[in-house]
Amino acid sequence: MRFRIYRYNPERHSKPVLQDYDLRIDSTDRMLLDALVRLKEQDDSLSFRRSCREGVCGSDAMNINGRNGLACVTPLKGLSEPVTLAPLPGFPVIRDLVVDMTQFFAHYRSIRPYLVNDEPLPDRERLQSPEERARLDGLYECILCACCSGFCPSYWWNPDKFIGPAGLLQAQRFIADSRDRATAERLQFLDDVYRLYRCRTIMNCTEVCPKGLSPARAIEKIKIAQLRRS
């Protein structure tokens, strides 16, 4: 199987290059990550992130044939050759397929990704009805792989100011949580020309989410919540 992989080592390359590889695929190689691990055996200078190898940790997000996805859950079968692999678009490249996620996680921190509730603690736990719990479905499953933000033109244009689809989906996860008491502050924080309203409803985020989530829908719900509050 033929691969064309983005290579960039700032210590050795003045600019990125695309390097071609040929790999004999074994019958046990099912996913793209299997092939990448074997390519690394051939060329140990090839750098990429990976951890859980089952679509839970989100480490191996990359651009696969022009579309963001997780290497560990992308079947080799069906990929057109040469399989072109590049780092997540719009993110600073540290080396090869490894990108700098510092800003991405700074945006995540900015939305206060935790429950804010100063009311006295109950004896056991803060209970939710099944309906209240169901409101978190489609939100809590996000693994912060950044496939969505890395495929969002608005995020490419203003990565320092626009929170991006991943951060906004997480924001909605806490806005929708019946146990949280900071909804007004959260909505006020997001009512900003850049943080939320750079979203142009392009919906690439929903298109590429490897977990099948819809950040675009979450963003819409935040805007509706803001309208209801104002």
């Binding site: 203003n158 009512d191 020309v193 943080r195 309203y197």
Partner: protein, 116 residues
Amino acid sequence: MSLFSGQRAFVVQRVTALALLAYVAASALRLAFGPPLSFAHWQTWSTQPFGATALLVLAVALFLHAWVGIRDVVLDYVHPATLRLAVLGAAAAGLVALAVWTLVILTAHAISHLSL
């Protein structure tokens, strides 16, 4: 709502879009199903209170919608502060000039119609 509220522009863009859509739909229906429209007919309509008001609302909606759209494009693509300020200033000046011109045309027609 803060000074840098994103919601204000978001709401303005959608409300003005609805106004423009209503005007386009009404115009299309009038052209499709009404009697043929001459320039004199159109001019008379634009000087009557209903016509003048409808055109004024259309103009306000159009210029506000255009401003939000231009501002969005500039915020997305034009990053150097000085250049951004210059482009936004030029766009605002152009839109204000067009708005004043529209107002002059509408009021001039109305005044000439009343004096007749």
